[in-house]
Structures are given as structure tokens and as C-alpha cells.
Amino acid sequence: MNDKHEDKLMSDARRLATRISPKRDLWPDIATAIAQPGRSRWTSMLAQAAAVILLVGASSGVTYLAVYDDQPPAEFMPPNLTFEQASFGGQYQLGPDFQDARSNLASKLDRELTRLSPEARAGVEENLQLIRNAINDINGALEQEPDNALLQELLLKTYHQELRVMRDVGGLTRSVMSRNDI
């Protein structure tokens, strides 16, 4: 095999047909498959978001148990929190009370985190980041399907999950403080 033959081989290869028509029309089967109702293009994203929420929930629980010291955590709940007032209609706006509670907790979060051990703090921050990524993904999906009830419900649950983690951080820090006091 020499260079001349190799060149001939490659130039012949480039002349091989790249367009070959199938013997039968493949479109009808494709059309049937894509017309089937069921999994929308967001389904897998929703499944992923749900998995994230489950993961975060489980992880939060583990973190909580790892830090919790038999004592029930002090209740840390800003007054007048009304989670149910978050409203999701065609415009999927959060209720003002929900937004206030969220802002309130978020503003306290940094201070609360400093009271946790580095490991627990890293766990909480990682969980919150996962939740916020999920919120961004769901909001992106809602921009294209604003009236998707499943997405709206998932967004609401995800916001609740975020609030729960932020609230638990408050509980954790109270627990740590009372343990240190003893």
C-alpha cells in the first residue's frame, strides 16, 4: 500500500453516495410517534426537578439529624407567614406575603449560616443552590408554557422547599446556640 493508492482510496471514498433514499417512506411512523400525547418536552425536566426536590429534602433531613442534639429546635418562624397565599394563575405571580417571608428569611440566612459548622453550612448552601437552579429551570419552562398547571404546582412546591430549608437553618442555629449555652 503506497501513498498513491491511499490517496485514490480516500478520493474514491469522498465520491461514495452520502444521500441514499430509503426504500419506503419513513415519515408516517415518525408522524404517528410525535403526534402521540403524553410526555411533553418538559416531562424529563420536571422529573429532574422533582428528583432534585426529593434529594434536597432527604439531604436536608440528614443534615438536620446530623446537627440536631436531641433537643427539639427552637421554633423559628417569622410571624404572619402565610405560605398558601402564593398564587399561581396564568401569570404565576408570587403572593406579597410569600415574597415578604422569603425576603425576610433570605436576609437572615447569611447570619444564621455563620453559626453552623463548615460542613453543615456547605450542605445547606449546596441544597439551596440546587433548589434555586430548579426554580430557574421551572420559571424558564413557564415562560413557554405559562398555563401549565403541573409546572405551576411544581414551582410552588419548590419555593416552599426553599422556604423550609431557610427556616430549618434558623432551627438548626437555635439548636446549636442552646447546646452551646448548656
Partner: protein, 200 residues
């Protein structure tokens, strides 16, 4: 169209659109509409690309039935993933990548390589050589008898003109591995064609 071709080259009026530009514009429109779940636009995309996708699947699998299944699977996946297409690469390249994945996934899942070799041996003319004539048919048959790894690289690099980097990305192998597989393919092809008295 005749009126467009008759125009002076320096006439840059908005009506002067080359067939290539027109095809690109059409394709962009079809993609945008298909992204909004317009099945008719998607059919237009299918009609424009099916021969090239089927050809790629046929050359990679060497089996008509497998190639048909892979082609259908690829277009269904394209429909499901179309919202994610942002035009970072050309639509054809993106489509080919999905088709290659469909072929690889199918081969891995069903382990049909053995069946494929059997079918290729039984066939008097390789299915992939349907579109070729003369000596090219011998080459096509020889390509079809290559081992899977060498055949896939040869088809993507030598037949479809992708770079080693692109072929490696599509096949999930390193660029160096793609080069090594091409070298192997060329050596095996030269041997095969020499044995059959075909002057490569």
C-alpha cells in the same frame, strides 16, 4: 427563478436570493416553526434531510431495517430535543450527531453487530452500495465489511467529511483513537480491495 438567474450580478435588490440562501432561510423558518410544535414544518425538515441521515445510518449499520429504525428514532429524538437547538452548530451537524447516537445506542443495546455481519455476508450486494456505481460499489462493499469501530470512523471522516475531532465527538472516542481507527480502516480496505483485484 429564471428571472432571478437573469439578473445582473451587481443587482443587489432584495428580490435577489440565491437557491442556497433560500434553502437556508426556509430551513431556519422550518426549525422555528417546528420548535413551536408545527409538525408540518418538521416534515419539511425531514424531507430535506432524510436521504443524508438514512445514508449515514445505512453506511454505519450496513442493514436496511436497522438503518430505517435508526433514522426514525433520530428524527423522533430531534423532535423531542428541538427546543434545545440553539444553532451553535448547523442543523445538519446536530441532526447527524443525534443519528450517530441512535446507531450507537441501538448497536450497544441489541448487540446486533453479529447479526449485521451475518446479513452483510448473506447479501450479494451490500445495502449501503445502493447509491454507488462501478468501482465505487466494490469500495462500498469493502467499507461495509470493516469492523465496527473502523467503519464508523471511515464513514464519518472519509465519506461524510467530518474532521477527526468531530467524528471523535460524535462517536465518544478521542481524536487520536479516531485517527488510529482511520489508519486501520485504510489498511484493511487496501488489503480487501487488493485481494479482490480492485486497484484502489
Amino acid at each position: 427563478m429564471a428571472a432571478l438567474l437573469a439578473m445582473e450580478p451587481r443587482d443587489y435588490s432584495p428580490a435577489m436570493v440565491s437557491p442556497t440562501q433560500q434553502a437556508t432561510t426556509d430551513e431556519a423558518t422550518w426549525i422555528a416553526r417546528a420548535q413551536r410544535s408545527d409538525a408540518q414544518a418538521f416534515e419539511s425538515l425531514y424531507r430535506a434531510h432524510v436521504d443524508r441521515v438514512y445514508g449515514l445510518c445505512l453506511r454505519m449499520t450496513g442493514n436496511v431495517s436497522e438503518a430505517e429504525d435508526c433514522t426514525q428514532e433520530a428524527f423522533i429524538q430531534v423532535w423531542n430535543k428541538l427546543a434545545k437547538f440553539r444553532g451553535d452548530s448547523s442543523f445538519a451537524t446536530w441532526l447527524h450527531r443525534i443519528a450517530v447516537n441512535a446507531v450507537l445506542g441501538r448497536m450497544r443495546k441489541a448487540r446486533r453487530e453479529q447479526d449485521r455481519i451475518q446479513l452483510a455476508t448473506e447479501a450479494s450486494i451490500s445495502p449501503a452500495s445502493i447509491g454507488d456505481t462501478g468501482n465505487l460499489r466494490d469500495l462500498s462493499d469493502a467499507v461495509d465489511r470493516l469492523p465496527q469501530g473502523a467503519r464508523h470512523v471511515f464513514v464519518l471522516y472519509a465519506v461524510y467529511g467530518y474532521s477527526h475531532e468531530e467524528a471523535g465527538n460524535m462517536l465518544g472516542i478521542a481524536t487520536g483513537t479516531s485517527k488510529a481507527q482511520l489508519h486501520r480502516a485504510r489498511r484493511l480496505l487496501a488489503q480487501q480491495l487488493k485481494q479482490e483485484g480492485f486497484e484502489a
